[in-house]
């Protein structure tokens, strides 16, 4: 995101809204964005309504109020002068918006944001079949963000276990070598709100993958939200629960349920 310094009055509202906390005041009292750390999520631009005032007018009003020892408490969702300016993004920086701004449809998946279909349409796609588990390893979430070099570190730790990287996942599309988990060199210093490594494995391999993740988690300076999914048994039981418990990890009490109402239903004998 860019900030038009001819318009900015340094009110600080965008500092608070910024998902990465990377907007601050410069020596002239204008807000500036740390471009290395900005993930181009566009939240500041979408949430802060422009009041459309001229900068000189806002500054004059403030000076008058200051003279009388008065202040003006603006609503948190306003930019008085409309100073926020979305930039035209080019490769590789455009990846930041594709992974961080949920209103942007990712060109590789056709889905808004950094996600994929995963189990959400499993009854029609058969993405996860009986005996299989899906691992979703979201690096940078919650609220910290991640560089693709962090994503590569995790991917390289898991790749030797020979998972199936979900082909329609936006991260998979950025690998240079799926066997090693190495990513394209030019993207490694791009930062995103989060990026999801999505794997398909056999249920019995869950403990091995979680152990590998346990080892690599401290090699990166960000957080990882981990999820595991599978197709339910005919009685509705969840087969991955047993394997996660065997591996010694706690399961959340809440989670996602696909009701199976999509049509046409996928059949297990389909290729």
């Amino acid at each position: 995101m860019d900030i038009d310094t001819t318009k900015c009055v340094g009110c600080g509202n965008c500092h608070v809204i910024c998902t990465m906390g990377v907007i601050s005041l410069d020596a002239d009292g204008k807000s500036v964005v740390n471009q290395d750390e900005c993930v181009e999520c566009g939240t500041c631009y979408r949430v802060l309504r422009s009041e459309g005032y001229r900068a000189w007018f806002v500054r004059a009003v403030r000076k008058v109020l200051f003279l009388f020892k008065l202040g003006y408490l603006a609503d948190a969702d306003l930019c008085p002068t409309g100073a926020l300016t979305p930039p035209d993004l080019t490769w590789p920086r455009i990846l930041r918006a594709q992974f961080s701004n949920p209103t942007v449809v990712h060109p590789g998946t056709g889905v808004p944001g950094r996600g994929t279909d995963e189990i959400k349409s499993n009854e029609v796609t058969g993405r996860l079949r009986a005996g299989e588990a899906g691992l979703v390893i979201e690096i940078g979430r919650p609220g910290i963000g991640a560089f693709f070099r962090d994503v590569q570190t995790v991917a390289m730790a898991l790749a030797p276990l020979e998972p199936v990287f979900e082909p329609e996942n936006p991260v998979t599309l950025l690998f240079e070598d799926l066997k090693t988990g190495r990513m394209k060199e030019e993207i490694l210093n791009e930062k995103v709100l989060s990026a999801i490594i999505e794997l398909k494995i056999r249920l019995e391999k869950i403990p091995a993958f979680l152990r590998a993740l346990e080892k690599v988690q401290h090699q990166i300076d960000t957080v990882i939200s981990v999820g595991v999914a599978s197709r339910c048994l005919p009685d509705g039981a969840i087969p991955h629960e047993e394997w996660v418990r065997k591996a010694g990890y706690p399961l959340s009490s809440n989670g996602k349920t696909n009701l199976g109402l999509g049509r046409p239903l996928f059949r297990e004998d389909e290729p």
Partner: protein, 218 residues
């Protein structure tokens, strides 16, 4: 994406937090799905959700979004979502969706055992399920548990830690009501998965007991 998966909170809070959303698959049921997604939204709207939205258009808590306009502009393959705060209402919604037989994929995020029971009462068996295994890695970089409970209600990460802190401060100083602060947070969430009713209750809790001394853990 997994935007509703990793919601954090105590079980008693999560009993008031159910998100039902629609999804379609390319080449399967995405093509021509716009009207079916609109019907899904109409059915949900009848039961008065606390939030609704479509990630491409925004949520009902944003200033320029009206329900009719939201429906009109929905296209094939968009991801519509609605948030409910009790299981009985959710069951009624599910039953009506089963009767409507829309053929689009319906998912619910919430307490898994409660959702399973809801499916059973509605006469269906769940197809697939997903658990969160929590947060790993550099957890020392995370803020207090209460802030994460607000933040994780928007899995896209649109509600910043700093904004949550500011809203807590505004509520504790009685410059804003819990309802106003919750709506402010809900405005940041594009897809409508944020639960402003739960946020309001959380603001009430932190106003009464404070939050600065809570554990930094997930």
């Amino acid at each position: 994406m997994t935007n509703t998966l990793h919601r954090q909170g105590a079980r008693q809070d999560l009993t008031h937090d159910y998100i039902i959303f629609v999804h379609t698959a390319n080449g399967k049921n995405r093509e021509g799905s716009a009207e079916k997604i609109r019907e899904f939204m109409r059915i949900c709207e009848k039961y008065h959700p606390v939030n609704m939205g479509d990630v491409k258009q925004g949520s009902m808590h944003q200033d320029d979004i009206a329900f009719d306009g939201l429906l009109r502009t929905m296209g094939d393959g968009t991801v519509g979502a609605a948030v409910f705060t009790d299981l009985d209402t959710l069951r009624q919604v599910v039953e009506e969706l089963i009767r409507a037989d829309l053929g689009i994929c319906i998912n619910i995020t919430g307490l898994l055992d409660e959702v399973r029971e809801c499916c059973r009462k509605a006469g269906i068996t769940r197809h697939s399920a997903e658990h969160s295994l929590g947060v790993w890695g550099a957890k020392d970089r995370l803020p207090e548990r209460e802030i994460l409970e607000f933040n994780t209600m928007c899995g896209h990460g649109m509600v910043s830690f700093n904004l949550i802190r500011k809203m807590i401060e505004q509520v504790r100083l009685r410059r804003m009501t819990s309802k106003q602060a919750a709506r402010m947070l809900a405005k940041c969430c594009e897809c409508g998965a944020f639960n402003p009713a739960r946020a309001e209750a959380l603001f009430e809790q932190v106003r009464e007991r404070g939050f600065l001394y809570s554990e930094r853990s997930c």
